[in-house]
């Protein structure tokens, strides 16, 4: 203290109690300030990816890794191989979601794990006559007949939009011959915006219903031809009508499929109200909806045990319970099909609910939910860290 500075002296008045000095209490903030390493990503980035990246960077810098809500980071990404990484495991399955552009104004597509387009063929197809849908107990019988404008028109109309999206777009291809399928695949050379190919092994518009996927020989030959024609990730979509889906899945894997998806619709029939013929213009149709879920679970459960490639589970998904069931049966990702007709926002909501389900179980990765129901699993997934669920 230098000279000339007068220190204030405390004035003490005789007979009066000493004045209380003010106390400053340090209050612990309710919300811990987020460190630089784990700050939210810029607008447009995928939240979960951004959070996990931030977490990794933060770990390297010695900072505490947290997600946007201050919890532990959650890994939702699904690596399907050959560079195809889904931001989360919930995808829009082929068919009801069209080419995605139909819902672009309604659904935040970049929050989906992926979009599989409706079936596309080399030449335009007019599809079956009306009616094309029939309500059946616990499901919908569908007989569209692969109506599409052909691969060239599809790419011309939609590829530019797909390239602008962050969400991976997988093109579902269907053909009546190996040559047509290979020609379809070749048209994709150099086209931006296509993250992969789903080979439809049960083209209902072909030779009287499910054809490629019924036996391992024809399924393997088709997938092998596609594999030779492209470097894009190839997904083989199985039919539940196959006598032994395991053999077909193994054949597809051996032929070079990077992923197997199960299942397509199950062939069925509904009778018209006047009982003078089938209810659908096509006669036969494919059963979708909750009626298909036990079938899908069976095929996923069987296939996941015999192949080393990832399995995508599709069939009867309408709630988070259905998602968890398919994951437990061995699927690494799930497809939402006919349920989007009533609720287009359902896939996005299921992705959010899946993240919540992981947090509620204290899991750091959605991978911990995969295959828990498969035989031979030594122990259930860890619940350590459940206290950080919220």
């Amino acid at each position: 203290m230098g000279r000339g500075v007068v220190k204030a002296r405390r004035r003490v008045v005789p007979g009066m109690p000493p004045r209380r000095t003010p106390t400053v209490r340090r209050i612990k903030p309710a919300i811990t300030p987020v460190s630089r390493a784990s700050r939210p990503a810029p607008v447009g980035a995928r939240p979960d990816t951004a959070a996990s990246e931030a977490g990794r960077r933060g770990a390297g810098a010695g900072a505490r890794a947290v997600d946007l809500l201050g919890g532990r980071p959650l890994a939702l990404e699904v690596d399907l191989g050959r560079g195809l990484v889904l931001p989360n495991p919930v995808i829009a399955a082929a068919g009801p979601f069209g080419y995605g552009v139909e819902y672009a104004d309604l659904v935040d597509l970049d929050r989906l794990g992926g979009i599989v387009t409706r079936g596309t063929t080399l030449k335009p197809r007019g599809g079956h006559g009306a009616p094309r849908t029939a309500e059946v107990p616990s499901g919908l019988l569908v007989g569209i007949g692969m109506q599409n404008p052909g691969i060239d028109v599809v790419l011309d109309r939609y590829a530019e939009a797909w390239a602008a999206w962050h969400v991976p777009v997988i093109l579902n291809l269907c053909a009546e011959s190996v040559g047509d399928m290979v020609e379809c695949v070749r048209r994709l050379e150099g086209v931006p915006g296509i993250a992969g190919i789903e080979v439809n092994l049960s083209c209902s518009g072909g030779r009287g219903g499910a054809m490629w996927g019924l036996d391992e020989g024809s399924a393997g030959s088709l997938v092998a031809a596609v594999r030779r024609a492209t470097e894009l990730p190839v997904i083989a979509k199985l039919t539940p009508a196959a006598a032994d889906a395991r053999a077909v899945a193994r054949a597809c894997e051996d032929a070079g499929a990077d992923v197997v998806s199960a299942v397509n619709t199950l062939p069925g029939l509904a009778v018209a109200a006047d009982r003078l013929g089938p209810a659908l213009g096509s006669g036969y149709g494919g059963i979708s909806g909750p009626a298909l879920k036990p079938v899908a679970l069976r095929v996923v459960y069987e296939v996941a045990q015999v192949v080393d490639v990832p399995v995508i589970g599709i069939g009867g998904v309408g709630s988070i319970e259905d998602v968890l069931d398919l994951l437990a049966a061995g699927a690494v990702a799930i497809g939402v099909g006919v349920a989007v007709l009533a609720d287009p926002m359902l896939p996005v909501r299921l992705a959010d609910e899946l993240a919540d389900a992981c947090r509620a179980r204290g899991l750091a990765s959605v991978a911990d939910l995969v295959g828990t129901a498969l035989p031979g699993r030594s122990a259930p997934p860890s619940t350590k860290g459940a206290e950080h669920a919220r």
């Binding site: 979601f97 819902y103 309604l106 009306a130 094309r132 107990p137």
Partner: protein, 285 residues
């Protein structure tokens, strides 16, 4: 196309198996036009959610109330008719393309069959508001199934045909069309595919039978009207509204496709109202 909050105001059976429901849904009513439809969500006993289309029967923007007609015996209809006033609903709408009335048309002929009166009911309100004359031809199985005249405005000329002759003309409602085709400037129909095909056939030969002058410019004048456009419907003598099951209402699932004159058309997006010339009636019938 977002789900609108809706509350059931009133529900009552107007003819056996047909229920009229009034919903308070201001966001849905706003901007609604005759011919458009709602996509109403339902679920079966096992919780499978789905939606079915219902034509807007009436819409009152002032009160935010609309009415639809619900049929018993269908999954969605049976669930809806069990609802009670105050219950909430999930309606998406208004969807689809509406009827287009030529501003110069003074006489409108409406043709409906059974419960499909709901498909053209709202057009009556719009036509009377615009001081047009309306004749409604309605077919039914018997007098018990005839749409109640008490639910129609007084200005409408209501002509009934029953299959058993218990009320009005005995026979199909399409038999009555010829009596009014000279009077009508435009006509609008809703019903079964076979009934619509019959009406479309009558409309095709009308000009030759009657020698009716074409409204508008002389042949060859002006720019061509694009097929499927509102202008094309406005120029057409007959517009039909298809009562078809619709899956997604977004145009993606292709479940509601019917044969059009120039290729497949989606009822949910290109319809449900079509000019008769836009459809391939060979398949529809």
């Amino acid at each position: 196309m977002l789900p609108g909050a809706a509350e059931l105001v009133e529900t009552r059976e107007i003819v056996p198996g047909q229920w009229q429901q009034a919903w308070h849904a201001p966001s849905v009513v706003a901007g609604a036009r005759a011919g458009q439809y709602l996509h109403v969500r339902s679920a079966d006993a096992l919780g499978f959610p789905f939606r079915r289309p219902y034509p807007l029967a009436t819409a009152d923007p002032a009160s935010g109330t609309l009415t639809i007609q619900v049929a018993a015996g269908t999954r969605t209809g049976d669930r809806l008719r069990r609802l009670r006033p105050g219950d909430a609903g999930d309606l998406i709408g208004p969807l689809g393309r509406p009827f287009e009335v030529d501003p110069r048309s003074r006489h409108l002929l409406l043709i409906a069959e059974g419960p499909s009166v709901a498909g053209v009911r709202m057009l009556i309100d719009e036509a009377i508001r615009d001081a047009r004359s309306v004749v409604l031809l309605c077919g039914a199985l018997s007098s018990a199934h005839v749409y109640p005249s008490s639910l129609l405005p007084d200005e409408v000329e209501y002509v009934v045909a029953t299959a058993d002759g218990s009320l009005g003309y005995q026979g199909p409602v399409t038999d009555l069309v010829r009596e009014y085709e000279a009077w009508a400037d435009q006509s609008f129909a809703c019903g079964t595919p076979s009934m619509l095909a019959t009406v479309a056939g009558l409309a095709t030969g009308r000009r030759q039978r009657l020698g009716v002058a074409t409204l508008g410019r002389k042949r060859g004048g002006g720019r061509p009207i694009p097929a499927g456009s509102a202008a094309a419907r406005r120029k057409a003598f007959l517009q039909v509204v298809l009562d078809h099951s619709i899956g997604c209402a977004a145009g993606s699932c292709q479940g509601c496709v019917v044969a059009g004159a120039n290729g497949p058309v989606r009822v949910c997006r290109e319809g449900p109202v079509f000019a008769a010339e836009e459809l391939d009636w060979g398949e529809a019938s």
